[in-house]
């Protein structure tokens, strides 16, 4: 086995020879995929080098040294990649992985349904085998970037007589076909970060199933585990100041993948604005408001330090403590409290969105965005269940969804929008 130094030296040499900021993005990444340096922890057979994750990080650092562009990493495509690497067959890996690395294909995730949000395994989108094709009917929702996607990662029910988790299958679906309709879904804050996807006799070739019929939930667990692990990753990318033709193309890619996240900082309550606003509004001189500002500072600092404790422990190779599971719950609380403080500080001004508004309406947008924080990406209720059952080891909820899925009680209408 080669040492870290040896590998770093090889990468440096390879980059010195090949890296050119004026190259075409896809061509450059194709070269990366061929060389294996773009996904060094993937198998050599599939565009990698078969190296460890630690080695892979070292290689990324060398890329950063050179300011060299790496393979495409944004959006759902990496979920597709890890899922294929773990569960796909040889043909699937050869067919899809390279264009994932080059960024030529966009992917979306088709898991959630109107009737199964917290309970993903309760999916009722149908997959019925008809000769050499699966016929797909049903509806998905919360599909980030589905309107840009070439391919979707789909879970659908292929067997209604099996138990809930055993009747699902996992497919790669071509999004550009007549039976697939993508609609943007508007949120209460006016943004449309997600889509609904409707399937009417959409078709999936038989060879596009990942793993076997009925094994979809197991495959989905891989996707979900990776999704959870990447929750904490920072999304901002500071490469934009770099010069060269390739960075112009890269910026387009990032714009697409960041599109759904433009309102995400508002969801976190924009704690960073608090002290400035406190001075602008005079709240900093009000003893009662100072208490709330202080509470928020305590909460957000404590949450930050807790995340750092978890990270430090992980880095030191220690078993994960409880602090690792609490980030999302803490973030919900920070958001809620920040929204309250912003309201009290800005009073009526907090409501304004138009030309007379403070800071281009961002305060109002915070207020109407924060409620999503405790829902999207797993509700607070689900997070509390996870903490209670997995971290504290408390008894699990009694199951009411065993036996053949067709007998399990579910929503009478696929979609019940309340009121």
């Amino acid at each position: 086995m080669q040492s870290k130094q040896q590998i770093e030296a090889q990468v440096r040499q390879w980059l010195t020879e090949n890296w050119d900021p004026e190259s075409n993005l896809v061509e450059w990444r194709s070269m990366l995929a061929q060389s294996g340096w773009g996904a060094a922890n993937w198998p050599e057979e599939y565009f990698g080098k078969g190296l460890s994750a630690e080695m892979s990080t070292a290689i990324e650092d060398v890329f950063a040294e050179f300011g060299a562009v790496g393979t495409a990493q944004t959006g759902v495509r990496m979920l597709a990649a890890v899922t294929l690497l773990e569960h796909g067959n040889h043909e699937q890996k050869r067919q899809y992985l390279k264009r994932i690395l080059t960024g030529e294909d966009h992917w979306c995730q088709l898991f959630s349904e109107p009737g199964s949000g917290s309970d993903l395994a309760g999916a009722t989108t149908r997959a019925d085998l008809d000769g050499d094709e699966w016929i797909i009917n049903g509806q998905k929702v919360w599909n980030t970037s589905a309107h840009h996607a070439n391919y979707g990662l789909l879970i659908a029910r292929s067997d209604w007589d099996e138990a809930k988790h055993k009747g699902l299958s996992y497919f790669i679906i071509d999004m550009h076909q007549p039976g697939v309709e993508v609609r943007q879904l508007r949120q209460m804050n006016g943004h449309a970060s997600f889509n609904e996807v409707f399937f009417t006799d959409a078709r999936v070739p038989r060879e596009n199933i990942i793993s076997t019929p009925g094994n979809g939930w197991n495959v989905a667990m891989t996707t979900l585990a990776y999704e959870r692990r990447s929750f904490d990753r920072s999304r901002d990318n500071k490469r934009s100041k770099q010069k060269g033709r390739i960075f112009v193309e890269l910026k387009k890619e990032l714009d697409i993948s960041n599109e759904p996240y433009t309102w995400y900082p508002q969801r976190a309550g924009r704690v960073d604005l608090i002290m400035q606003r406190a001075e602008e509004t005079g709240a900093i001189n009000d003893p009662v408001q100072r208490q709330d500002i202080a509470r928020l500072h305590i909460l957000s600092e404590s949450a930050k330090w807790t995340a750092q404790r978890a990270k430090a422990a992980q880095k030191a190779g220690k078993p994960q403590g409880p602090e690792g599971s609490l980030g999302k719950l803490a973030a919900s609380e920070v958001g809620r409290l920040a929204a309250r403080v912003h309201t009290t500080m800005s009073v009526n001004d907090a409501l304004l969105t138009g030309p007379d508004s403070v800071r281009d309406g961002v305060i109002a947008e915070i207020l109407v965005s924060v409620p999503a924080g405790s829902i999207a990406g797993g509700t607070d209720e689900i997070q509390r269940n996870i903490v209670a059952e997995r971290v504290l080891g408390l008894p699990k909820e009694t199951r009411f969804d065993e036996g053949p899925f067709r007998n399990v009680q579910r929503n009478s209408a696929a979609k019940d929008s309340g009121k």
């Binding site: 929702v141 508007r186 209460m188 309406g361 829902i375 999207a376 209720e381 399990v408 929503n411």
Partner: protein, 387 residues
């Protein structure tokens, strides 16, 4: 009401409720909130003239029904439930009460009948700075000129300021705070874009705007006016919170996850029970504020009138309580709806946004708690002790 509503009051509530169910459905609200005026003039005429809602709390000799603050509060609560879009709060509650408090009888006869009949829309322009109204917070001036006055200044966050024909404005002259009426043609109105499009707000710029002074307006009237507005808003808010709670109750029972309704999860059940508790407490506060207000000098013969500081105490108590409950219920209602709860298509956000705008209108909960406690401490000991 002595802690329950009379049969007559219950019947009145039923008729208001039926009317609003019919004329202020959620699709109505959605289409009106997208318009600039934000209300349907036909419905306004019906509720003013056929149901007499705009004058329910006004004297009979001016065209009102001669009832009091409790009946006004009933209208507000029902409007809060259905999220009625229209200038009831601005014109019938705030502006009409301002005139009734501050005008002499000649002025009242000249101004109120048309407002009570819903034929003329009025608004009340008080706020300049944020929060609760107080004498110190005004820089808008009134200067005597010819037979009237000229007003100069900027009034902010005027509810339905863009819809009014007549503006009642609070300004200062040499003698202190006074109430003035100004024709809407003589001011510059800037409509505001608010995250709550169901309640229209405007800034109003007065530039040498000709005005008439109402004979009896001053600090005391301003204080009572804030009590009236806060009580009305508190009742509107508990109405809105009730709709949200009903919605959460019905959705969680319909919605199945993991083979069972969400409402069968104990954590949800307990939170719904807590919401009911909070709401019933806030309702009691809102009803009590209306009752105490009904015993204020405005509606009662002086001899039996409630102590003015108790009127203020109960009004601000109700405003603070209802604000927090409304917002909390709205947040929980969104949360219990899950993902669908923060979509535009779902109705919850309409009430959530109204909850947010109501929270800050007339001052924050903290400001009203402070106002309440000051009023409580200013009461004679025997009143305080009975509390």
């Amino acid at each position: 009401m002595a802690f329950i509503f009379t049969e007559d009051q219950e019947q009145f509530r039923d008729s208001v409720s039926r009317f609003l169910k019919d004329k202020s459905s959620t699709p109505d609200v959605r289409s009106l909130m997208a318009t600039e005026a934000g209300f349907n003039p036909d419905v306004w005429v019906q509720l003013s003239q056929q149901l007499g809602m705009t004058g329910v709390h006004m004297p009979e000799d001016l065209g009102g029904a001669g009832f009091g603050a409790v009946e006004m509060a009933i209208v507000c609560e029902e409007m809060g439930k259905s999220l009625y879009c229209g200038p009831y709060f601005a014109s019938a509650v705030c502006a009409a009460s301002a005139i009734r408090l501050a005008a002499d009888s000649t002025q009242m006869e000249a101004l109120l009948p048309e407002i009570i009949a819903g034929e003329r829309l009025a608004c009340l322009a008080v706020s300049e700075h944020q929060g609760v109204w107080s004498d110190e917070n005004f820089s808008t001036t009134a200067v005597a000129r010819d037979s009237g006055y000229l007003i100069n200044g900027l009034k902010r966050f005027v509810v339905d300021g863009g819809n009014a024909d007549l503006i009642v404005v609070v300004a200062k002259d040499d003698t202190g705070v006074g109430f003035y009426t100004v024709d809407a043609n003589d001011v510059t109105v800037t409509a505001l874009e608010s995250m709550d499009p169901t309640r229209k707000l405007a800034h109003i710029q007065f530039t040498d705007s000709p005005a008439q002074k109402l004979a009896n307006g001053g600090s005391d009237q301003l204080k009572l006016l804030l009590d009236i507005a806060s009580t009305a808003l508190a009742n509107e808010m508990v109405g809105g919170a009730q709709t949200l709670l009903d919605s959460a109750l019905s959705y969680t029972q319909l919605r199945f996850q993991f083979g069972r309704s969400i409402a069968s999860f104990q954590a949800i059940k307990h939170r719904l029970a807590d919401l009911l508790l909070e709401l019933e407490l806030a309702k009691s506060a809102a009803y009590q504020a209306a009752q105490t207000l009904a015993s204020s000098a405005l509606w009662c013969a002086d001899g039996q009138a409630a102590h003015p500081e108790q009127v203020t105490e109960h009004a601000s108590l109700a405003k603070a309580a209802a604000s927090e409950v409304y917002l909390h219920t709205a947040l929980e209602c969104i949360q219990m709806h899950g993902g669908i709860g923060f979509t535009w298509e779902n109705d919850t956000h309409l009430w959530f946004k109204r909850a947010k705008s109501s929270e800050v209108l007339l001052g924050t909960p903290a400001q009203h708690r402070e106002r309440m406690l000051t009023a409580l401490c200013a009461q004679p000991t025997d009143l305080k002790d009975s509390a």
